[in-house]
């Protein structure tokens, strides 16, 4: 109990004094996770929507595979990305290992199936509602996907937030591909793991509370921006 209390005090103290290390780590965490979120959303939102409206031979297998990929163990993703980016790997020449870019790649692989799967579920319902109307209006496939994404944007925001939550809280994969290098690839989660290993539980907890607060702030900000709870919207 004392350690939790000390952790809360530490978190407040770090924020009050605007600790430079904390700010650097927090900014890097946000940069990596937001970049991964943008890339993953650009892939997953149209793919999930397309999957909802398109009928093709291996559709059910694709959906099952996508749902299974939601449970990808991050450590395994980290290991695979590590092998691909290591000097002897096929992309070793790019020199990306132990950089924030490698961390972004790992996070994109982890969160894309999650966002795509939630998108598919939401768009399937909306498509069953809109199907007859959009067919009747003689819309092209592109126009249908655009209409579904636009009208389902608030649900898609939730899908994206789920992806962001998973990305910013991820530690296994980014520890492997980022290396937790001070002033280079250290982020909040890897810093927490490091401090816990060193036995500095107060600092680890402090960083943990900052991480939780950050997630809450981002969620609230996005909800406020998308006006999900505003009267008069639907």
């Amino acid at each position: 109990m004392n350690e939790i209390w000390a952790g809360i005090q530490e978190a407040f103290w770090l924020i009050i004094i605007l600790d430079s290390d904390l700010i650097e780590i927090t900014v890097r965490s946000l940069k990596v996770s937001f970049t991964a979120l943008v890339v993953a959303s650009a892939l997953a939102l149209p793919f999930g929507t397309w999957l909802a409206i398109r009928r093709f031979r291996y559709r059910r297998v694709t959906i099952a595979a996508l749902n299974a990929l939601m449970g990808l163990p991050p450590v395994v993703v980290g290991l695979i990305v590590y092998l691909l980016l290591s000097r002897s790997g096929p992309f070793g020449v790019l020199g990306l290992l132990f950089t924030p870019t490698a961390m972004i790649v790992a996070q994109v692989i982890i969160i894309t199936p999650l966002i795509a799967s939630i998108t598919h579920q939401a768009m399937r319902e909306l498509w069953s509602e809109y199907h007859d109307l959009l067919i009747s209006l003689n819309t092209s496939k592109r126009q249908r996907v655009a209409a579904l994404i636009w009208d389902g944007r608030r649900t898609l925001m939730t899908a994206a937030l789920a992806g962001f939550g998973r990305a910013i809280g991820e530690v296994g994969a980014i520890m492997i591909v980022g290396g937790n290098i001070d002033h280079a690839t250290r982020v909040l989660t890897t810093a927490i793991a490091l401090e816990t290993g060193k036995g500095d539980f107060a600092l680890a907890l402090g960083l943990g509370f900052v991480l939780i607060a950050l997630t809450l702030v981002v969620n609230l900000a996005i909800h406020a921006l998308s006006r999900t709870e505003r009267e008069g919207t639907w």
Binding site: D132, I135, T139, Q143, G232
Partner: protein, 238 residues
């Protein structure tokens, strides 16, 4: 706007669902002109017939051919469903959507949307979310959205089912205006009174096939089949 009648040919059309025939086999040459009402008991195939004509229902067998090219035919048609489908947008955006799809100029869209909102009596709720309108208002909006592109043929599937007398009257008024403006209408209804008020021509369906068709005044006075007579008398027919 003057729309000349167009015709459609159905050649041995049948629609099956889970192995059960819901329409046809049906062969028919039909000149779409004025106000056409499709009558028949539940399960007669009225809605399926409309959807097949509009191309939103795939036929299991046979062909449907309009007298104008398919792409042009689809562009010049509109459909109003029994349960109005509202886009999760404002009334204004719902009205604008069909015009945006054909790439109409923004200023022209704004003008037309305001004009049609006034015609359907929704000018005061233009920025209100469409899914929150009452049933009657939603049906009027669906009708306005269908008519805003001035279609040559308008399909309506029981547009006044579950509506009160006032909403029904308003919708019938809009439909009369649309036919006067040159839009040809094909509409299903259960309401014989409504059919009498609006129809120029009747298509009577029974068990998935066209049982009888003809001029509305003749159909209501001297139906030529016993099933149609029984239907008009309010008997249960199978």
């Amino acid at each position: 706007m003057v729309n000349y009648p167009i015709s459609v040919s159905l050649n041995s059309v049948s629609v099956k669902r889970r192995g059960k025939s819901v329409l046809g086999p049906l062969s028919l040459d039909f000149k779409v002109d004025g106000f056409n009402i499709v009558l028949g008991p539940n399960g007669a195939g009225k809605t399926t017939f409309l959807k097949v004509l509009h191309g939103v229902e795939r036929v299991s067998y046979g062909t449907v051919k309009w007298s104008i090219p398919d792409a042009k035919a689809r562009q010049s048609q509109a459909y109003v469903f029994q349960s109005p489908i509202m886009l999760r947008r404002s009334v204004r955006q719902n009205l604008a959507y069909p015009l945006q799809l054909v790439g109409m100029d923004k200023a022209e869209i704004t003008t037309r949307v305001v004009e049609w909102a006034q015609k359907i009596g929704l000018q005061d709720v233009l920025d209100f979310p469409a899914p929150r309108l009452s049933g009657g208002e939603q049906q009027k909006l669906a009708l306005g959205r269908a008519l805003i592109r001035t279609p040559q043929v308008l399909f309506l599937d029981e547009p006044c089912a579950n509506l009160d007398g006032r909403s029904t009257r308003e919708i019938e008024e809009l439909l009369k205006n649309a036919t006067q403006a040159g839009t040809h209408i094909i509409m299903t209804t259960h309401d014989l009174g409504q059919a009498r008020r609006l129809a120029g021509r009747i298509l009577f369906f029974l068990n998935g096939t066209l049982h009888e068709q003809g001029n509305a005044s003749e159909f209501f006075i001297t139906p030529s089949t016993s099933a149609a007579r029984a239907f008009l008398n309010g008997d249960i027919i199978e």
